[in-house]
C-alpha cells in the first residue's frame, strides 16, 4: 500500500540556510506521528515544507505516492490538511463560515458552498461535539474552542493526512484532553496525523511513532517505546529525563 505521506533525504530551511537535515519519514493510514524537539529545532519549518509552503533544500516529498512539488494547491489540499497553531485572521467570522472554508479544495473556482458542504461542515462539528458553536463569532470564543473549530475544518476538508503544529500548546487541561481525544478518533477512522508537541507524555499517549529532532538533525525515529527512552530524551532536551511506566501502561516522563 502507498504511504499517505513520505519524505526521503529531506533538508529543510530558509533560503540556502539549512535548519534540519536527513529527514526520512513515512506516514501510513491511521498512524499518529509525534515530532518532538526543543524550541527552534525546525519543527515548524519542517511542517511548512511538508505542506508545500516552503521548497525543500534537498530530498523529496511524496503525497499519496506522487511528488508534492508540482501539484496544484487544490490537489494538495484534498489529500493534506493543516491545523495551524492558532487562528491568524483578525476577522469576526462565524464558526460555521470558517469550517465551510475547508470545502474549498472540493469546489470549482467560481463555486460557493451549498447544502452538501454545509451538511458536511455541521457533521464535522458534530463529530467533535461543537455543533452548538456554529453561529458564534470566532473572535469571541476561547482558545480551546477555536482549536476545535480548526480541527473541524480539517475534517471537513476530507484530507486523509493532517498536519498539526502544536495543537494543544496554549490550551487548558480540559481542552488538551478534548483535542487529544479528537486526534485519536480521527486516527481510529483512518486519518494519518503528524503533530508536534512539547509534552512527551502527550506524545506517548497519542502516537505510535515519534521523530526526535534537535541540533539540525534527526536524533531518533521509530516506535514510541523504542525511541522515547531516558538517554535519547536526555540528549534531545539537554537535561536528565527519566521514563516511568504507570500501572495502566502509560508512559510518564520526569525531568
Amino acid at each position: 500500500m502507498t504511504p499517505l505521506l513520505q519524505a526521503r533525504g529531506l533538508t529543510v530551511g530558509h533560503g540556502n540556510r539549512p535548519v534540519l537535515s536527513g529527514i526520512d519519514l513515512t506516514l501510513e493510514p491511521g498512524q499518529v506521528l509525534c515530532l518532538l524537539g526543543p524550541n527552534g529545532a525546525g519543527k515548524t519549518t519542517l511542517f511548512r515544507t511538508l505542506l508545500g509552503l516552503l521548497p525543500p533544500l534537498s530530498g523529496e516529498i511524496l503525497l499519496e505516492g506522487r511528488p508534492l512539488a508540482p501539484m496544484p494547491r487544490t490537489e494538495v489540499a484534498r489529500a493534506l490538511a493543516h491545523v495551524p497553531q492558532s487562528l491568524s485572521t483578525p476577522f469576526a467570522f462565524r464558526a460555521l463560515e470558517l469550517v465551510l472554508m475547508g470545502a474549498s479544495a472540493h469546489l470549482g473556482p467560481f463555486a460557493r458552498p451549498g447544502r452538501a458542504e454545509i451538511a458536511r461542515a455541521m457533521a464535522a462539528m458534530g463529530a467533535l461535539g461543537i455543533a452548538g458553536l456554529a453561529g458564534e463569532e470566532i473572535t469571541r470564543l476561547s482558545g480551546g474552542q477555536r482549536q476545535m473549530i480548526l480541527i473541524a475544518r480539517a475534517l471537513a476538508q476530507g484530507a486523509r493526512t493532517v498536519v498539526m503544529d502544536e495543537p494543544t500548546a496554549s490550551l487548558d487541561f480540559a481542552n488538551r484532553i478534548r483535542v487529544g481525544q479528537a486526534i485519536r478518533s480521527m486516527a481510529d477512522r483512518g486519518t494519518a496525523v503528524i503533530l508536534s508537541t512539547h509534552d512527551p507524555d502527550q506524545a506517548a499517549a497519542l502516537g505510535e511513532c515519534a521523530l526526535l529532532v534537535g541540533r539540525g538533525r534527526v536524533l531518533a525515529s521509530g516506535k514510541i517505546a523504542e525511541v522515547m527512552t531516558d538517554t535519547k530524551l536526555s540528549t534531545l532536551y539537554d537535561i536528565p529525563v527519566r521514563r516511568e511506566e504507570l500501572s495502566d501502561g502509560a508512559l510518564h516522563f520526569r525531568g
Partner: protein, 337 residues
C-alpha cells in the same frame, strides 16, 4: 445555513434594502439639478412623451451623468474592497496606494497629447498598474517589508512622484484650453459626462468587476493569510495578483472618466462592512451597490449646493477625511468587530 443576526439588518433583507436605496438615489439624481424634473415629467419622458426640453435634459444630460456617477462609485468602492482584502489591511485604498494619482498622471498625459478617450483610459491603466507595482516592490524590499505602515508610506512617496508628473504636465499644457480642463478634471467632476464616456469606461469596469464577483467566495479565504489559504487549496499569490490587477483596472477606468475622486474606495467598504460583516462574498456586492448610490448622491449635491459646480473630490474629501481619522482611532479593531 442558520440565520446569522448582524447588528442592524438581517441577511435576507439586506439586498432589497440596498437595491431600494440605490433606486432612490438614482431617482433623486435624475430629478434634482439646475433644471428640476418632477417625477411625473420623468415618467412621461420615459414613456416616450413629455416636452422636448425635458426629454433633452433627461436623455442627454441627466441620465448619462447619473449613470456615470453610479459606475464610478461602484468601481471605486469595489476596488477599495478588493485592495483591502488583497492586502489584508483596512487602511489601503486606491488613493493611499497612489493608484489614483498614478492613473491620474497617465490620463492627464493623455489629455495633453490630445488622445481619444479609450487611449486615455489605457494610459491611465498602464500608469496606475505601474504605480501599484512600484509601491509593492518598494515596500517589500525595504526593511519591515510588507508592513502596513511601510506600504502606506511607499504609496504616499510614489503618489507624490505621480503628483510631480501631473504638475509637469500642467506646466506644459496650453493655459487657454487644456490647463483649465486638466485642473478641473483633477479635482474630480462628472460635469461633462457624455454617453460616449460611459460607453468607453463600462467595458473596463465590468471586466474588472466580473472576476471579483465570480471568485468572491474563494477571495474571502485570503482573509486567513497566504499560508492558511494555500493549505485550504487556494492559489493565494496568483489570486492576490489577479485581484490587484482587477481593482487597478476599475480604478483607472473610473479615474479616466471622472478624474481623481478620492476617499470613496476607503469609506464605502467600511460602511458596507458594518452591514455585512467581514465575508468578502457578501461585502463586495454590498459595497458596490452602496458605492454607486453614494456617488450619485454626492454628484447630485455637487451640482445643486452652489451656483457653480463643486468638484467631486472636494466633497468626498470633506466626507472622507473624518472617516479616515475615525478608522485610525479605532485601530486594528476595525477588522475584528
Amino acid at each position: 445555513m442558520p440565520p446569522f443576526r448582524r447588528c442592524w439588518v438581517t441577511e435576507r433583507s439586506l439586498a432589497p434594502l440596498l437595491l431600494a436605496g440605490l433606486a432612490l438615489a438614482l431617482l433623486a439624481g435624475i430629478a434634482i439639478g439646475p433644471f428640476p424634473l418632477s417625477l411625473r415629467r420623468i415618467a412621461e419622458v420615459l414613456a416616450g412623451g413629455g416636452d422636448a426640453q425635458s426629454a433633452t435634459v433627461l436623455w442627454n444630460i441627466r441620465l448619462p451623468r447619473v449613470f456615470a456617477a453610479a459606475l464610478v462609485g461602484a468601481a471605486l468602492a469595489a476596488a477599495g474592497t478588493a485592495y483591502q482584502t488583497a492586502f489584508r489591511n483596512p487602511l489601503v485604498s486606491p488613493d493611499i496606494l497612489g493608484v489614483s494619482a498614478g492613473a491620474g498622471f497617465g490620463a492627464v498625459l493623455g489629455i495633453l497629447l490630445g488622445l481619444p478617450v479609450l487611449a486615455i483610459q489605457l494610459t491611465g491603466f498602464a500608469t496606475g498598474l505601474a504605480t501599484v507595482a512600484l509601491v509593492l516592490v518598494l515596500s517589500f524590499s525595504l526593511r519591515g517589508g510588507g508592513q502596513v505602515l511601510v506600504m502606506v508610506l511607499c504609496g504616499i512617496a510614489v503618489g507624490a512622484l505621480a503628483g510631480a508628473g501631473i504638475s509637469l504636465v500642467k506646466l506644459l499644457a496650453d493655459p487657454e484650453q487644456q490647463l483649465p480642463a486638466i485642473t478641473f478634471w483633477l479635482m474630480g467632476s462628472l460635469a461633462g459626462a457624455k454617453r460616449t464616456d460611459v460607453a468607453a469606461a463600462l467595458p473596463a469596469i465590468v471586466a474588472g468587476l466580473m472576476p471579483l464577483v465570480l471568485l468572491r467566495w474563494r477571495i474571502g479565504l485570503l482573509a486567513l493569510g497566504n499560508d492558511e489559504a494555500k493549505t485550504l487549496g487556494v492559489e493565494a499569490t496568483r489570486l492576490r495578483l489577479l485581484i490587484i490587477a482587477c481593482a487597478t483596472l476599475m480604478t483607472s477606468a473610473a479615474v479616466s472618466m471622472a478624474g481623481v475622486v478620492g476617499w470613496i474606495g476607503l469609506m464605502v467598504p467600511h460602511m458596507a462592512r458594518l452591514l455585512t460583516g467581514p465575508r468578502f462574498d457578501r461585502l463586495l456586492p454590498a459595497a458596490t451597490l452602496i458605492g454607486a448610490g453614494f456617488m450619485v448622491l454626492v454628484d447630485t449635491a455637487a451640482r445643486s449646493i452652489a451656483q457653480m459646480e463643486v468638484p467631486l473630490g472636494i466633497l468626498t474629501a470633506v466626507l472622507g477625511a473624518p472617516v479616515f481619522v475615525w478608522l485610525l482611532a479605532r485601530g486594528s479593531r476595525g477588522w475584528a468587530e
